[in-house]
Each structure stands twice: as C-alpha cells, then as structure tokens.
C-alpha cells in the first residue's frame, strides 16, 4: 500500500476514535511525537520524585511520612509505566534514560523548583498533581492505546496524591499563625510555575498542530489550564488562602476565572536548563545511575551464571 493511502486510512482510524496499537503501521512523525511526549512525561515523573523526596525524612507525623513515601513511590511507578509505553514504539528504556541524563531530553519545568518548607509538599500535591490530573484525564482519551492505558492507571493513583496535598495545605492554613504563613508562602511560590506547567498557548506551541490532528492531545493547553484554574481557585478560598495574582477575577459572562499574565520568559528559561534546581535534579539522577551501575551489572551476571548452571544441570 502506498504511504499516502496508508496515511489516509490511519487518519480515518484516528478520526473514528479507534485506538492505535503498538504493532500497527503509523506515520514516522506520529511515532516521533509520541516518543517525545511519553518520554518527557516519564522523565517528569522520575525527576518529580526528588523535590518531594527531600521531605520524607522530615515529615512531621508518622502518618504523613507513610503517605508521602507511598505517593512518591507511585511516581516511580508512573515513570515505569510511561517508559514501558514508550518502549512499545521501538525505543528502549536505557536510551531514554541516557537522553535525560545527557541533558538532551526535556521534562516538566515545575520540578526544577526547590521545596523549601513542609507546606511545599502540600502545594505540590494540591497544585502540581491537580494540574497533572486535569491534563492526564484529557490525555487518556487520546489515540495511542498503550499511552491511554498508562494514563488511566496513573489517574487512578493520582487522585490520592491530589487529596493528600490539599489535606496538608488545608491543615496548615487552618493551624497556627506560623503554619498559615508557611502555607501562604508556599502558594505564593508555586502558583506561577503551576500556571506555566500546562504549557504555552497552542499558537506558541510548535508541536500542537500534529499532536491535535492525530489526537495525541485532544484539547489545547489553554483549555486544560482554564479547567485547572476554575477548579483550584475555590479550593484556595475554602482553605482561606489568597492566590498571588492581583489580576485574578471572575468573569460573570463566561463563568470562568481570569488570571493575569503568565511569566512565559521564566518558563522557557527553566525548560532550557536555567531554573533554581535543574542542575541539582540532573546531578541526583546521574549519581543514582552511576552509583547503581555495579548493581545492575551484578544482577545480570548472576542471572547469566544461573542460566548456565541450569543448562549444565539439565
């Protein structure tokens, strides 16, 4: 079959809402876009373990410590599911890891910010996971089967992440004056980056045309961001906290919350490597990879030895 005809059939499948599976024919760019998106998503989960991991040993109650451990563990699992989804497209996990560690791959800008207080842990669960849920729910309706299934699994696990974060923030905001101040300060620092994390407007986004045509994404960044804002503002109010945006106002006509200017200059700078913690995040991942090399090699060597022994015994 001619490529043009294959592409036509492929587009028809997409338009009819049918999922594309791993072994099917797909345009090269579809495969490339998916590998890019899925791997960036996977890298984000893994790097995302670090800012929260920073507070495991300092969690202020045993219950909070257990919850935080379980939450971060889920992020490792999410990274794993996503690398697996990317692998269905013909690229292996080690290659993807190498891309991240060599600074050749992007990951979500939000994880390049420091966690300066316990309230930051609340803010991340509330805002970052909140935004992720809105985005991932949208992505689970996309066209590529393995990615969608990963999204469904991730969304199920993510909802507790969001709740535990909000629970922390709410507790703080309604606690001692020092705790309330801690919560407001965290919101002040994490709001801006949370607005940026869902990505630039589609006019400014290079990949949007293809990803929308092929329903890898089914809604625009702006639509997803607006949904997140509308959900989150009342949550802040309920907790007695103030969103740090003087231009924030409710539009009675549209029924939506309108925000002020998003700092896109900051977003691009951080994505390109110049944020508060980019260096530390990659250093930590490189260290884990390098210091773990002997373990992986030993595990492989043992498995090979055992295989030999079984052959001999047979």
């Amino acid at each position: 079959m001619e490529t043009a005809e294959r592409e036509k059939k492929f587009q028809e499948k997409i338009d009819s809402g049918q999922k594309i599976e791993a072994k099917e024919w797909m345009p090269d760019n579809y495969r490339k876009q998916l590998i890019r998106m899925i791997s960036q998503h996977a890298h984000s989960e893994i790097v995302g373990m670090l800012p929260e991991g920073n507070w495991i040993t300092r969690a202020p109650s045993l219950r909070r410590k257990a919850v935080l451990l379980a939450k971060i563990q889920d992020e490792a699992g999410h990274g794993l599911y996503l690398y697996s989804a990317a692998e269905t497209l013909g690229i292996d996990r080690q290659t993807l890891i190498n891309q991240l560690l060599e600074g050749k791959a992007k990951y979500s800008s939000i994880f390049n910010y420091p966690t300066l207080s316990w309230a930051d842990i609340g803010a991340i669960g509330w805002l970052v996971d909140g935004a992720a849920i809105v985005n991932q729910t949208m992505l689970s309706r996309g066209s590529y089967g393995p990615y969608c299934r990963a999204m469904v699994r991730i969304c199920k696990e993510e909802s507790f992440h969001n709740r535990q974060g909000y629970e922390i923030i709410y507790q703080l905001a309604n606690g001692t004056p020092a705790q309330k101040e801690m919560a407001q300060d965290a919101l002040n620092r994490w709001w801006g980056p949370s607005m940026q994390m869902l990505g630039p407007s589609d006019a400014a986004s290079a990949n949007s045309e293809e990803t929308m045509k092929w329903q890898i994404k089914v809604e625009s960044n702006d639509t997803v961001r607006q949904r997140f804002i509308d959900r989150t503002v009342p949550q802040a109010t309920a907790a007695g906290l103030t969103i740090p945006d003087a231009d924030l106002k409710f539009n009675d006509a549209t029924g939506h919350w309108e925000i002020g200017e998003i700092e896109w200059e900051e977003f691009y700078r951080v994505v390109k490597g110049k944020g508060p913690c980019n260096r530390q995040r990659l250093e930590a991942r490189r260290k884990a990879e390098d210091e773990g090399a002997w373990v992986r090699e030993a595990a492989a060597a043992y498995a090979a030895k055992q295989a030999q022994r079984q052959v001999k015994a047979a």
């Binding site: 045993l62 971060i72 090699e297």
Partner: protein, 253 residues
C-alpha cells in the same frame, strides 16, 4: 521491673527498630539503581512504618500516660530510644543497605513466628499480620544477597565489605534485658536464645551460598541501643526527623 514496664520497654524496642529502619530506607526513595528496586525498597520502608505505628501506639497505650505514636517518635531524645544499633547504621551503598536488611529480616522472621504464640493478644495479632510482609522481605533480601554475593567480582567485594561492617551489630539483636527476662517468663516474648540459633543457621547458609564469608570481628560486639546509648548517627537522624514538631510543638500536622 514490673511486667507493664517491661512490656513498654519491649514495645519501644520493636517500634524503634521499625521506625529508624524506615527512616533509613526512606533516604533511598528516588535514588535507587533502577525503578523496580526503588519501588521495592519503598515497599519495605512502608511495611516498617506500619509496624512502627502499631508498636508505638500500643506502647503509648501500655504506658498509660497519654503519649501517642507521634509523641513517642518526635519528642523523645536519643537516650530514650530503644532500637538496636544495626538499624541506625548509615545506608552506605546498596550492598550495605540490602545486607543490613537481610540480617534484620531473618531476625524479624524467626521472632515474629515465635511471637504468634505469645500470651499477649496484641503481640499475637501484630506478629500474625507482620509475618506476611516480613516473609516477603526475607525472600527479597535473600535473593539480593545471592545475586550480589555471586554476581561480579566488584559486587562480591562490596557485599563482603558490607558483612564485615555489619556483623558486629548482630549479637545485640539477641540480647536479653532484665525486662525481656520478665516477659519471657510470662510467655509474652520468646526465648531469644532459640531465635539466635535459627537466625545463625539460616544466615550462615545464605552467606555461604552467596560465596561470602563471616568476618572475624576480634570478639567486638556493638551494643547499647537497649539502654539508649546509640551510635553517633542517632543524633543526626533525630535532628532531621524531629525538626518540625520540635520547632512548632503546638502545631498539628
């Protein structure tokens, strides 16, 4: 020492073992050599946290002075902690972490098996439930002992180093305090001599299969945890762990 005091001390001992070990394992989250292992280690940490919470809550109840699990975890000083020194040793590399885990898992496995026959209802329930997860920990850590002991020359050396460092901390696991003797007599905890025999047999067998050796510690046995004389690590562990509740003692979290 009354039976109640002895029980309180014992629950603290077991609870602090679990708590400090969980604290150490938590340091690995996000830094393991592979995602699958990061998740596995965190599972062990979570199981230990669960045990710590059960044990410390019960300790507070037995003490009957109104102290909760968090009061005990965050507002005692080093001298009041009763964990064995083994669990507070720094993680080092994965060889040391997994060897520490193995030595502790075999101890837990045999102790919990015996605790199911306790005269104390709480300990029976605790042991029955915890034995399931500890059985899994034992499978996991034993597997790694063999994998790394008999993997590459480098992994073998690292594992031997780990055993060399940790072996002197193991005798303390089987120490019988005055309080323990009271509890054993009352059928509440097992005789640790029997546990020690089972532990030695199993540990030595796995170490041999892993092509590793028991080191010569020149008779030195590291102990002190049962009377609150810990290693230099303990101060730092608690400084980090207790920081928030101690700086804001009226706050609820």
């Amino acid at each position: 020492m009354t039976g109640n005091q002895a029980l309180f001390e014992y629950l603290l001992h077991r609870g602090d073992n679990a708590l400090i070990l969980a604290q150490r394992l938590g340091e690995w989250c996000g830094h393991a050599h592979q995602l699958e292992s990061d998740i596995a280690l965190t599972n062990v940490a979570l199981d230990q946290m669960g045990q710590a919470r059960m044990l410390l809550t019960e300790a507070g109840r037995v003490e009957a002075k109104g102290r909760s699990e968090d009061d005990l975890a965050f507002f005692r000083v080093e001298r009041e902690f009763r964990n064995a020194l083994l669990v507070e040793v720094d993680n080092g590399d994965f060889a040391r972490t997994i060897t520490r885990q193995f030595l502790f898992d075999i101890f837990q496995f045999h102790t919990l098996k015996a605790l199911r026959q306790s005269e104390n209802e709480f300990l029976v329930g605790f042991a029955t439930k915890s034995l399931k997860e500890v059985t899994y920990h034992r499978t996991l850590s034993t597997d790694w002992m063999k994998r790394l002991g008999d993997g590459t020359a480098l992994s073998h050396d690292k594992m031997q180093d780990a055993i060399n460092v940790l072996w002197e901390y193991t005798p303390e696991l089987f120490d019988i305090t005055e309080g323990d003797a009271v509890l054993t007599k009352a059928g509440i905890i097992p005789d640790m001599e029997a546990i020690k025999l089972a532990w030695n047999e199993e540990v030595r067998s796995v170490i041999a299969e892993a092509t590793l050796e028991i080191p010569n510690t020149l008779g030195y046995e590291a102990r002190g945890g049962r009377i609150g004389h810990h290693t230099e690590h303990m101060g730092y562990i608690l400084a980090e762990m207790q920081y928030l509740p101690r700086t804001m003692p009226e706050a609820k979290w």
